[in-house]
Structures are given as structure tokens and as C-alpha cells.
């Protein structure tokens, strides 16, 4: 099976290029394993990966134009010729490795932690199963960045628009019955950019490897803002 991978080495290359490798596909083989075989042929080929089972979020790449995790993408599901590129819109460090700092900065900016002002009980803070269910589809995010780097609004405004991953987490804390910083969180999202650059294009939903729905989370935040304003 022929796989074309994006190569760029800042110490050697002026411009990026595509390089073809021939990999013997085995039944059930995942793209990550194919990339590892390429690395065995050419150890200078670089990409991030770790868990191999879709939970660590390290190996997000762009394959045939679509963002995905290499470890949960089966070669059999891909159309030849297979082209593997780094996530779009991020500065490339080397080969498939991109600089994710801005993505992480937006995540940190939304204060992704529980804020409480009440004194803490000596046991757990109680939460009903229904209230807890509101966090399903939100807390499972693995920060892989597939969504934000597929979002046109994030491409155009990477400094100012928080992007789908960070906004999904903003909603995760707004939706948590234990959190007591709703006003503060909503105020921080005011303005034309941080939240409101989302135009519901839904690229994010389409690519999320965990099946999460940032578009809906963003819609929920907007709705909450409206209802608070009334």
C-alpha cells in the first residue's frame, strides 16, 4: 500500500515536500502502525503518538483532507492514495508535528477548572445522576485538537476565537451543577470574537474522534447568555 507523508525538517528543508512509502498492509492495520513501519524504514520521520487506543489524543493528523487520530483510523477505511499531513493551520515543527501552544492557551484561558465559593463539605458535594448526565459528551474530550484545526473561524482568528475544543470545555464547567462561577464565565466570553466567531459550520462535530458536539455546546452557551441577559 502506498502512503504519501508530509515531510519538513527545519534544519534541512526550505520547503515541505511529500514523500511516498510502500507499506505492506496487514488485515486490521491502523494508520499509526503504518506510520511506525515508515519510521522503521526512515528513523528521521517524526510524529507524536502514545496510547495507541484513542485516549491520549497525541496522534491527531490530517488524512486525505480529514482530521483524525492515526491510532483509531483503519487503513482499510482509507482511499488510496493515502496522504498524511500535519493538522492544518498550525505552525509545523517537523514532519507531522505541529505547535499546539495556541490551542492550549485558549484551553487555559477559559478557566477549565471547577470554581466554588461555598465552603467544602467533609464528604463529596452531592450531585444527582441527572445533573451528572449533563456532563456526558463534554468531559470526555482528549484535547486532540482535531476540531479546532478543522474550524474555518479558528483558521482566520486563531488569536481571538477560542475554538471548539476550548468552548466545549467552557460549557463543561457551566453545565456542572457544582460550579459557582457562571456569571464570571459568561462575562469572560462576551465580545465579538471569543465565542461569537462560531458560525455553526459543524466541521468540528464531523471530525471529533470521540463523537463530541462542540457546536451544540457553543449554542448552549449562547442560549444561556441570552436567558441571563433577559
Amino acid at each position: 500500500m502506498k502512503i504519501r507523508v508530509y515531510r519538513f525538517h527545519p534544519e534541512r528543508d526550505q520547503t515541505p515536500r511529500m514523500q511516498s512509502f510502500e507499506v505492506a498492509a496487514r488485515p486490521g492495520m491502523m494508520l499509526r502502525e503504518a506510520l511506525l513501519e515508515i519510521k522503521a524504514l526512515d528513523e528521521s520521520f517524526a510524529f507524536r503518538h502514545s496510547c495507541g487506543e484513542g485516549v491520549c489524543g497525541s496522534d491527531s493528523v490530517n488524512v486525505n483532507g480529514r482530521n483524525c487520530l492515526a491510532c483509531t483510523t483503519a487503513l482499510a477505511d482509507l482511499q488510496e492514495p493515502i496522504e498524511v499531513r500535519p493538522l492544518p493551520g498550525r505552525p509545523v515543527i517537523r514532519d507531522l508535528i505541529v505547535d499546539m501552544s495556541q490551542f492550549y492557551d485558549h484551553y487555559r484561558a477559559i478557566k477549565p477548572y471547577l470554581i466554588r465559593t461555598d465552603p467544602l463539605p467533609e464528604h463529596e458535594i452531592h450531585q444527582t445522576p441527572e445533573a451528572r448526565a449533563k456532563l456526558d459528551g463534554l468531559y470526555e474530550c482528549i484535547l486532540c485538537g482535531c476540531c479546532s484545526t478543522a474550524c474555518p473561524s479558528f483558521w482566520w482568528n486563531p488569536e481571538r476565537f477560542h475554538g471548539p475544543a476550548a468552548l466545549l470545555q467552557a460549557w463543561r464547567f457551566l453545565a456542572d451543577s457544582r460550579d459557582q462561577a457562571t456569571d464570571e464565565r459568561l462575562d469572560a466570553l462576551e465580545g465579538a470574537y471569543k465565542l461569537f466567531r462560531c458560525h455553526s459550520i459543524m466541521n468540528c462535530v464531523e471530525v471529533c474522534p470521540k463523537g463530541l458536539n462542540p457546536t451544540q455546546a457553543i449554542g448552549n452557551i449562547k442560549e444561556l447568555m441570552l436567558s441571563q441577559a433577559l
Binding site: 510524529f47 496510547c51 515543527i93 508535528i97 492550549y104 478557566k111 477548572y113 471547577l114 468531559y139
Partner: protein
């Protein structure tokens, strides 16, 4: 050019659950803390833990920390240190509450309390009815905990060195640990992090075995760093194999598959567990089932072209049961095997899972080793917590749900004691260029050019060797062969050369440094296993099938210099309760 230096009160190597919980303690106390991790923190392997974390909250069934303690001592096959186990089981309760307050999205009961499920080896009243002690966030507990701890560290403004690789500890001539030499993965530049205290929280080393449930990054770096700094590793012969990993790939297939009525068959379609464990059959304890699978394969009754796995059948339960009760397993099977377990059996093989052994510590997470004044002297300035440490709460066999607990409790304990140490030792000690030499030499070794062997080839041979010679079943002959092969492999390490000598994000160089570490911890495991002539917990010797408390109720300590093994007694005295004396372990 001199190597740049940074100064911190505390250096934490590792951003899994152990490292992050320690960091949180310290950053909240306004110490200057640096957390070094070779991957972005939420990519640490704690993220993969599924089932949950044990604490006797008694939310579902009656429970008590003392019952939890009994189960853990018994589970450890009496090799666990009872003072550490008492500490862990007592601390479990406030630890889980603290996690909940930090924001972990635990699953809930109708009354709003944390959901708890039953797990193996749990009992009420010291061996009575089944207990329900495992606190869970669905089947993503590790993810929920790791992300929450990282989030809280963002709040506490912990200083992170993401994608920095720790090469070696820096120890002065008096043996005091002064920090570590690290490598910026992105820029390829070495950096000295000088610190008053250093915590190793680098996790496990499952990658030393060919098939395992661990992440690619679990290469035993911290354990090997300790070995090279002259610190022995404890109880390395005890490595847990989970009976049902996906064959050839290693992902975990939970015990619940058999709990729901699944069973194992060999190439003849025979339900072979009936021969090995006539009453418990497929639900016999993990080590028994793992041994049975290997026996079948060795007898030529394995399935597939290579006859190297058995099949786990759940299809007879019907599609509804399988899809509703085992959705996670269905996902794994769909993604990685392209099968629906309701239609087709799952190929499984015992899979390397968890290191019970590691860097010896006391219950304050201080690293201890035999020295001038006794067998357990504190190494000044050095701490270890999490899977890389051996405190020892798991002894010869770990119970499910006790590792997440271990990393949290002793990560926190490390933070606590570091606070004390830094207040008593407020100044940095002098750090000379000589102190950095050994670490630098190790890095520079990989700058040698020319033709030679490949890192990937040696690594593959090591992994195969460990699986073949130090697996589920062990005996003198197989292991001695393994030692010979390993010695030959270590000699070949000298002629390994990198082809890639670039600076920026050179992952080949990182893998080479990891290979050094894997060889060191692999050697420790094999040597300690060869030396222990009894069967206890996960260590099962065909040639010594019985547990031998008279001669072997003791911890092993493997040192790199001269390949030496020493022993020290098990701490059988708890802190405030009576000790649990060794008894035959029957479930």
C-alpha cells in the same frame, strides 16, 4: 557552551496522576515547582485507566478502611508492607473526596453520592461478602482524574516543562540529589534543572514486553535513572499479566466479559478452564487464568496460523446483552479487530499490564536504600511515587482499583514531605559541572556516527526476549537462557548507531535513550525473577510451585553494579492496628 540552568524548590519528573497530585500540593503552598513531562500532561498513561479507584466510602454496601486493608494485604500475597497499606487505605477516603471537590465527574447514585462498583478481591468483614469499593467515572476514571488534576494545576499556576525528556538524576559526591539533566525535545538542547528536592513519578515499563496494555511512552525511565544513580530497585520480579488482552495488540478486554458469562476456548473448541479450575472456571483469579492460557498455547492448542492465542467467546450471550453490557469492549473490537463480539470470538492472550516493583520508598514517598547505617536509609532530596515506586502496597500482586489510589495517596504524601524538607533545607547546594558529567555522557553517546545496529531492532528483540523468557510462567532454565540472550543484547547496544543526528524533535534519539532504560529495567526484572525460588502472587515458578514464607517472605533489591540482589524484610507491622499474619491465599 555551558549548559543553561534553572532553579526550583521542587522538581517533579512525570505528569501522570502521581506527579500532578504532588505538584498540586506544592504549588498551592506557593513553592516554586517544575513539572517535567516527555508528553503534554494529559497524554500521560493515567489517562487510560478505566475501572476506578478504591476507597471504603460505603456509599453502596457497608465498608471500612480496615477491610480494605485486609483485602490489600491478602491480595499482595502477604508481601505488601502493612504500614504503607494502612496509610493508603485510611487516606483513600479523604483522597477521593478531595478529587471530587477538585471537579472529577464521578458517576452518581440516586442520593447524589459517588457511584461505587464491585471489583475482584474486595470483601466485607475481612474475607466475607463481596464489597463495592471502586469509585468510578463511567469506565473512564483515569481520564477524568488526570484531566481534573491538570486543570487544578493550571489554576495553581504550576510551571510545566512539556515535552522535556529527563535523562538522568544529578547526585553530588555526598549522595544528595540536586535535580536532573533534561533534554528539550523540541529544540534538542540539554538543560539542568537544579532543585532542592526531586520527585520521580515516571510511571510503568510495560513496553519491555512485546504485548502489553501500556502506552508507547511507558519505558521505565525513572526506575532506570534511579538504578544508574546507584539506587536498587525493589521486587522487580513481580509483574502483573492480565489474562485477556487483545492478542498481538494488547488492549485490555475487561474481566466483565467473563463476568457476563463469556468463556475461553482453545483451537479444539474446548472450554479448557474446566480442566484448570473446575469450580471457578473462567472466573478463577487473574494469575490462574493467565497461566492456563499460556499452558494451552505451549501444548500446541493455540488458535490462528501461529497458534499463539486463544478465543474469548461472548457470542452465545446474544447481541442485546453483548451490546448493552459490554459497549466498551464492542468499541475496541470494532476499531481494532473489525469484529462484532456478538458475532465472532475475540482473540486474546495474557498481556503485560502493571509493575508491582519499583524504586523503594517509605510511606512519606522518600526514596530509601541500604546504606551505612542500615537497610532503609533515606536518599536526601529524592522522592518517588506512582507506578515507578514500590512503597510497597501491592506486594506480589495488585488489586484492581488500587493503583490509581496508590498514585494519588503517595503523590500527595510526597508533596507533603517535600514541603517539610524544603523548609528545613532552604538553600540550593552547590552543583558542579562534574555532577552533570554522567548524564551528559549518556546523551553524547548517541552522537556517535557511522553504521551499526538499529534501535528498533534491539528493542524488538528485547521485547520478544522478555515475553519468551520472563512471562507468565518461569523456570530456572528458560530464565537462564533469557539472561544469556539479554547479556548478548546489551553487548550489541554498544554498536547501535543513530542515523538521525538532528536537533529539532528528534524522536529517534528519544527512543534510543528509552532503549537504554528498557534494557536496565528488563535486566532488573529478569535477574530478580531468576533469583526468587518460590511462587508468590504474579511470580510463578514451575520449578518452585509453592509459596515459601520461611525463606522468601522478603523484598528483593536489585542493584545495577555487579548485578547484585539483596533482600530486606517485609514491614509486617501496621501503624495502629494488629498485623495480618500470612495465611494460604484462597478465594
Amino acid at each position: 557552551m555551558p549548559i543553561p540552568r534553572r532553579h526550583f524548590d521542587a522538581l517533579i519528573i512525570g505528569a501522570g496522576g502521581a506527579g500532578l497530585n504532588a505538584a498540586l500540593r506544592l504549588a498551592s503552598a506557593e513553592l516554586r515547582v517544575a513539572v517535567v513531562s516527555k508528553v503534554f500532561p494529559t497524554r500521560s498513561h493515567t489517562v487510560a485507566a478505566q475501572g476506578g479507584v478504591n476507597a471504603a466510602l460505603a456509599n453502596v454496601l457497608p465498608d471500612h478502611w480496615h477491610w480494605h486493608m485486609f483485602d490489600t494485604v491478602k491480595g499482595s500475597d502477604y508481601l505488601g508492607d502493612q504500614d504503607a497499606i494502612e496509610t493508603m487505605c485510611r487516606e483513600a477516603i479523604p483522597t477521593v473526596y478531595e478529587l471530587e471537590h477538585a471537579g472529577v465527574p464521578f458517576s452518581r447514585l440516586e442520593n447524589g453520592k459517588i457511584y461505587q462498583r464491585a471489583f475482584g478481591g474486595q470483601s466485607q468483614q475481612f474475607g466475607g461478602e463481596q464489597a463495592a469499593r471502586t469509585c468510578a467515572a463511567a469506565d473512564r476514571t483515569g481520564h477524568a482524574i488526570l484531566h481534573t488534576l491538570y486543570q487544578q494545576n493550571i489554576r495553581a499556576r504550576t510551571h510545566f516543562f512539556d515535552e522535556y525528556f529527563a535523562i538522568d538524576l544529578i547526585r553530588d559526591s555526598e549522595g544528595v540529589v540536586l535535580g536532573a539533566l533534561v533534554l528539550g525535545i523540541e529544540d534538542g538542547e540539554p538543560l539542568v534543572i537544579a532543585a532542592k528536592t526531586t520527585l520521580l513519578a515516571t510511571g510503568g515499563y510495560g513496553q519491555v514486553f512485546r504485548t502489553n496494555t501500556n502506552a508507547f511512552i511507558n519505558t521505565g525511565d525513572g526506575m532506570a535513572m534511579a538504578l544508574r544513580a546507584g539506587i536498587p530497585l525493589q521486587d522487580m520480579e513481580f509483574y502483573q499479566f492480565h489474562p485477556t488482552g487483545v492478542a498481538g495488540k494488547g488492549m485490555l478486554i475487561t474481566e466483565a466479559a467473563r463476568g457476563e458469562g463469556g468463556y475461553l476456548v482453545n483451537a479444539d473448541g474446548e472450554r479448557f478452564m474446566e480442566r484448570y479450575a473446575p469450580s471457578a472456571r473462567d472466573l478463577a483469579s487473574r494469575d490462574v487464568v493467565a497461566r492456563a492460557i499460556v499452558s494451552e498455547i505451549r501444548a500446541g492448542r493455540g488458535c490462528g496460523a501461529q497458534k499463539d492465542y486463544v478465543l474469548l467467546k461472548v457470542d452465545h450471550l446474544g447481541a442485546e446483552v453483548v451490546h448493552q453490557r459490554l459497549p466498551g469492549i464492542c468499541d475496541i473490537c470494532r476499531v481494532f479487530l473489525g469484529i462484532d463480539p456478538a458475532q465472532a470470538p475475540i482473540p486474546v492472550f495474557p498481556t503485560a499490564h502493571y509493575a508491582m516493583g519499583g524504586i523503594p520508598t517509605d510511606p512519606q514517598a522518600r526514596v530509601i536504600m541500604p546504606a551505612r547505617h542500615g537497610p532503609e536509609e533515606v536518599v536526601p532530596g529524592l522522592y518517588a511515587a506512582g507506578e515507578c515506586a514500590c512503597v510497597s502496597v501491592h506486594g506480589a500482586n495488585r488489586l484492581g482499583g488500587n493503583s490509581l489510589l496508590d498514585i494519588l495517596v503517595f503523590g500527595r504524601a510526597a508533596g507533603q514531605d517535600i514541603l517539610r524538607y524544603v523548609s528545613e533545607n532552604p538553600h540550593h547546594r552547590p552543583l558542579t559541572d562534574e555532577d552533570i558529567e554522567p548524564g551528559l555522557a549518556r546523551l553524547q553517546r548517541w552522537a556517535r556516527r557511522g553504521d551499526g545496529e538499529r534501535v528498533s531492532v534491539i528493542k524488538a528483540e528485547l521485547r520478544k526476549l522478555m515475553e519468551d523468557h520472563c512471562g507468565v510462567f518461569r523456570d530456572q532454565e528458560t530464565m537462564s537462557h533469557g539472561v544469556a540472550k539479554l547479556t548478548a543484547l546489551r553487548e550489541r547496544l554498544d554498536i547501535v548507531r543513530l542515523q538521525d543526528h538532528s536537533q529539532v524533535f528528534n524522536t529517534a534519539r528519544i527512543e534510543a535513550l528509552e532503549l537504554d532504560n528498557l534494557l536496565d529495567v528488563g535486566t532488573a526484572t529478569l535477574m530478580a525473577a531468576l533469583a526468587r525460588e518460590e511462587s508468590r502472587g504474579a511470580h510463578s515458578r514451575v520449578d518452585f510451585p509453592e509459596r515459601d514464607d520461611t525463606h522468601w517472605l522478603k523484598h528483593s533489591l536489585y542493584s545495577l553494579s555487579e548485578d547484585r540482589i539483596d533482600y530486606k524484610p517485609v514491614r509486617t507491622k501496621p501503624i495502629s492496628v494488629d498485623s495480618f499474619p500470612p495465611k494460604p491465599r484462597v478465594y
